[in-house]
C-alpha cells in the first residue's frame, strides 16, 4: 500500500535524449509505437470509440476491422489487474492509452531546448490538449467517471498521468518553471484547470467547443492571477520585515 502511494510521488530523472537509445516503450505503457497493441488501441481511439464509446465493444470492433482475432482482447488487457466495479481490464488499458498517447501527441515535435520565444505558451498547449479530446467529447464523461473511481487505477495511473500532463505542459511551454514550493502549486493549479475544463467539455454543446476553450482560458488566467497575488504578498511581507529589522538595528546603534 505504501509502495503504491509512493508511486504517485515518483518522478524520474530525465536524461539527455541525445546520449541514449530511444526507450522501446511509450511512457508508462508496456509497449512502443510499432507494437500491435498500439495499432489496435490507436485504431480504437480514432474509429471505434466515437461510435461505441469507451467499452470493450469498441476494442472488439477495431480488432474485427483490422482482421485480428478477438482473443487479442486478453493480450491487450494483460498489464492491468481486474478493476473495481467489474470494468474490463482491456477497457482500463484503453483509457490508459488514451491518457498517455494524447499527452505525447500534445507535445510532439516541440524541442524544449529551443529559445523561449519559439516555445508555445502554456495556454496554447492546454488548448491543444483539450482539442485532442474533441472527437470523443461526447464519451468524455465515461472516461472521467472511470478515472475518478477511488482504487488502484486512480493511484497508479489516473493521478500520475494527470501530473505528468501538467508537468509536460509546463516543461514544453515558455512558462517559467520553479525550484521551490511553487513547483508543486503551479502543477496543482494546471491539473485543476485541466480537469475542470475536461468536465466542462463533457457537457459542452457549443459549436466547436468554443465555450470549453473560453472556460479553460479564463480558468487558467484566474489561477495564474492567484499565483501573482501570492507572490506580491510574499514580496511585500519580506520587504516590510527586512525594513523593520533594519529600522530596529539603526535605532539600537544610535543608543
Amino acid at each position: 500500500m505504501l509502495n503504491r502511494s509512493l508511486k504517485l510521488s515518483k518522478r524520474m530523472y530525465h536524461a539527455n535524449a541525445s546520449d541514449f537509445l530511444k526507450p522501446t516503450t511509450l511512457g508508462s505503457l508496456v509497449y512502443g509505437k510499432d507494437s500491435m497493441q498500439y495499432k489496435v488501441l490507436s485504431h480504437a481511439m480514432d474509429v471505434s470509440v466515437p461510435i461505441y464509446g469507451f467499452n470493450e465493444r469498441a476494442i472488439v470492433h477495431s480488432l474485427n476491422v483490422l482482421k485480428l482475432p478477438s482473443s487479442m482482447l486478453s493480450v491487450i488487457s494483460s498489464s492491468n489487474p481486474p478493476s473495481f466495479l467489474h470494468s474490463s481490464p482491456a477497457l482500463m488499458e484503453l483509457i490508459k492509452f488514451h491518457l498517455v498517447d494524447k499527452r505525447y501527441k500534445t507535445v510532439a515535435g516541440i524541442d524544449p531546448e529551443a529559445a523561449d520565444e519559439e516555445l508555445p505558451s502554456l495556454e496554447s498547449l492546454l488548448l491543444k490538449r483539450l482539442k485532442l479530446n474533441a472527437p470523443i467529447a461526447s464519451r468524455l464523461s465515461q472516461v472521467l467517471s472511470q478515472l475518478a473511481i477511488p482504487g488502484p487505477f486512480l493511484l497508479n495511473n489516473a493521478l500520475p498521468e494527470l501530473h505528468r500532463l501538467s508537468d509536460d505542459l509546463l516543461y514544453f511551454s515558455n512558462e517559467k518553471d520553479h525550484t521551490d514550493f511553487a513547483w508543486y502549486s503551479k502543477r496543482l493549479a494546471i491539473s485543476c484547470t485541466y480537469v475542470s475544463s475536461e468536465l466542462f467539455m463533457s457537457q459542452d454543446k457549443s459549436a466547436d467547443f468554443s465555450q470549453t476553450f473560453e472556460f479553460a482560458q479564463e480558468k487558467l488566467h484566474r489561477v495564474m492571477k492567484l499565483g501573482e497575488y501570492y507572490n506580491n504578498t510574499e514580496e511585500f511581507t519580506w520587504y516590510t520585515m527586512l525594513s523593520a529589522v533594519n529600522l530596529a538595528k539603526s535605532q539600537l546603534a544610535r543608543g
Binding site: 536524461a15 546520449d19 521551490d180 538595528k249
Partner: protein, 232 residues
Amino acid sequence: MLRNSFPRISKRQFSRLSSLRATNATSKEPTKRSQNENRHFPLSEAQAAYLDRVVRVDQAGELGADYIYAGQYFVLSSKYPHLKPVLQHMWDQEIHHHKTFNSLQVKKRVRPSLFTPIWKLGAFVMGAGTAVISPQAAMACTEAVETVIGRHYNQQLRCLTNQFDLKKANGSVSVPPEVNSLTETIRQFRDEELEHLETAIEHDSKKAVPYMLLTEGIKGICKAAVWTAERI
C-alpha cells in the same frame, strides 16, 4: 563505363523500383546508425531514481548552505567586519552551487524537495542563531554542516563512479557524458565545501563554547534533513 553508370545490384531484385529504394535507404541509414551506435542503452529505473534523488538532495543541501551563510552574514557582517570577506567568499560559492543544482533540477525535470520552505527557514535560523551566540559558534556550525555535506558528497561520488557503467549500442561500456559531468560538478563542489571546513577551523571554530553540543547537534539535524530531502 557502362558498368559505372548503373547502380550495382548484388541481389537479383524482384521489382525495378526496389533497387531505387535500396539506394535511398542506404544513403540515409549509415549516419543514423553510426549515431545510434554511439548511444547508451537507457538508464535503468533504479539508476534514474538514484540520479533523481541526488539532484533533489543536493539542491536542498545547497539551498540550506546558501541560507545558513545568509543568516551568518546578516548577524556578523556589521559586528565583526574582519569576518565579512571570509563569509562573503564562502556565501558566493554556495550561491553558485545552489544555482547550478537549481538549473539541473529544472532541466532534468526532478521535483524539488517538498519541504523547501522549511529548509529555507530552518537554515536561516540555524545560521543566524549560531552567529548570535558568538562568531566561533557560527564557525562551529559551518564546521559541522560541511563535515556532513562532505561525507554525503563522497558517498554520492562512490555510487556515481561505481554504478553507472552503461553499455553502448556498439557493445562498448562507458559512463554516459551527463553522469560524468554530474560527477565532476559534485567533485568540485565537495572540494569547495571541504575548503569551507578548513576556513571554519582556521577561524577558531574549536573555541566555540558548547562545542560538542553545537557540532554534534547540528550534525544530527543535517543528517536528518538529508535523509528527508532525499525522500520527500
